[in-house]
Symmetry: C2
Subunit: 342 residues, 2 copies
């Protein structure tokens, strides 16, 4: 536990200067023409003593902390904690650590957190926020801080994004239903301008139209779960010809399944059900429900890669071009949509 090991000790032990030790430690031995012998000797002593340079002193000097700020609505949401887990892995492997905070969609809280992150001198930011909160976060981008957004696309923010390919996901899902013989596919979404919901809708309508079928869409003005369930009920009652339904978000799937709570399970039981977003319940209930699974691993990998690319290109002041990456989702086919074929 010789805690107080410093570069000075190493230099003394080897019989050289801290400058030389520092160069070797930073892989600049070659560049600085340090002799191989000296380099070897330094590395050996460092290894023997298990010396690690003080990261804080380094941060103070270089201005880099190798810390990334991770900002989401609520870290305990499965999607976000899943992303957090993988991001931490990927970032750790590259020498970065993550600090996180949950905004709770509160404007004041966002500003506070960004202030804390800035105070901590984070090197970069990974952010997912909802519409309407662009202003708070806009300063970050105009301040040239390296930021990667994910989950939500915010048209007002000209920035870098890593997103699930929402269009592709529902297009594939719709095609899956058509391929399995379903002809009248309904689509339940919310009444919104959110880009990801519009994309999901578009993926559905384009695919259905190409098959010469007629889109049947329910756009719910979302207030609460009970109301939503009622509207789904009416929609299904008014359109008895539907043989399949796609729910465009996990909470809509839940609201649909709650029909069984109000004794209306027969409205769904005859139909193929497909959910955007996958969760444990869907695999468990009977019949198990086909779902679009967000590609967490790939999203996380791309987020980290993109951010690190920006961090390392930090010197290039012009910012370079913006990236909007769309990652393909996975379709987990289960009992609910196999009906007409298997």
């Amino acid at each position: 536990m010789q805690e107080k090991l410093s570069i000075k000790h190493i230099a003394n032990l080897v019989g050289t200067s801290i400058t030389t030790v520092s160069f070797v430690l930073n892989g600049k031995a070659k560049e600085k023409h340090i002799s191989e012998k000296l380099t070897e000797k330094i590395l050996q002593v460092v290894a023997e003593l298990d010396y690690q340079p003080n990261s804080i002193a380094r941060s103070l000097r270089t201005g880099k902390t190798k810390i990334i700020g991770f900002l989401v609505d609520d870290i305990s949401k499965p999607f976000f904690s899943g992303i957090a887990r993988v991001i931490d892995q990927k970032a750790s492997a590259r020498g970065y650590k993550i600090i996180f905070s949950s905004t709770g969609n509160d404007k004041k809280r966002i500003s506070e957190i960004l202030n804390i992150f800035k105070d901590r001198h984070v090197d970069g930011y990974i952010v997912a926020i909802a519409e309407g909160l662009e202003e708070e976060i806009g300063k970050l981008i105009s301040g040239k801080a390296p930021v990667v957004f994910f989950d939500r696309y915010l048209p007002e923010l000209d920035a870098d994004y890593v997103l699930t390919d929402n269009f592709q996901s529902t297009a594939t899902a719709s095609q899956h239903l058509l391929d399995n013989g379903f002809k009248n596919i309904g689509f339940v979404t919310i009444d919104t301008e959110q880009q990801q919901m519009l994309d999901r809708l578009q993926g559905y309508t384009d695919t259905v139209k190409r098959a010469k079928a007629k889109p049947q869409v329910l756009k719910i003005k979302y207030t609460n779960s009970e109301d939503s369930t009622e509207k789904i009920k009416s929609f299904l009652q008014d359109n008895p010809e539907l043989d399949a339904v796609i729910f465009a978000a996990n909470y809509l799937t839940m609201d649909g399944l709650r029909l069984s709570r109000i004794g209306e399970e027969q409205l769904l039981s005859s139909k193929a059900i497909l959910s955007f977003d996958d969760f444990e319940l869907l695999e468990f209930i009977s019949p198990s429900i086909t779902a679009i699974e967000q590609p967490i691993e790939e999203l996380a990998e791309n987020i980290v890669q993109l951010l690190l690319k920006k961090l390392n290109a930090g010197d290039v002041k012009n910012g370079g071009e913006r990236s909007v990456l769309k990652i393909n989702a996975k379709l987990n086919v289960r009992q609910s949509t196999k009906g007409l074929v298997n």
Copy 2:
């Protein structure tokens, strides 16, 4: 964006020394007998320019980073991400930030992560690890680092713990079943020496015995989910007199519910079911299932409080006494256990 604001600028603007500014900023104005006038003026300039001391420089000087390392199996498990969210809130409010990592129960990974945390000079640790990994973590404690453990009690580690009161939780649950008229209560657990599982078992047996009833316990040597479901099936078939069953962990509840997958739902449908650990599914299925909910908010609050107490008592070298806090769980009563009364 005058990024490069430093204590020197403030001192110059006010016309004093950085020493005085530092004293004022650290609330030592009184102690150091700085005149009220000067203090006021400094605070005013600081407020005007929105100056914030560089936290890294401060860390280098003081040796404190105000960062806490959070170490769990898997940050994406609902219990852990829930705890993480609340801990972040509580810690943020006190000027601390959390960095986390997931161990995946891998010994090598644990050592790596602890090394990273140490390298980052975290002030303290919040840790939940499984049995068998004590050795890796033991060095932390013997090294006098401030650590608070939660979730798991590890008898070998003489340390500070914050735990759900497992004994109380199943005692209360058992009493609830007895109060509602159930007489033959079964208990499904695993064959283990894990303290928390033993406590849950004890809470049940003590309560049942006090009511002059006979404990009926299934201890599963856990290998996999399918096998577990089979053993639960046999247990229920062999003990037809049971009118209630407590599952001692969420995965056991799931295994029990999977009886419906193998056409054996009637084994459970006639019985009151009660689950240790609550999750969405339990509220959703029909009948909804009564569950013991871990007190995440209180656990988090106590973890943070205890750790900060240790951090602030850092000067007191004798370490003080150890704490083992047990927090009461909550019983969420649902349809499954109301049968005989309502």
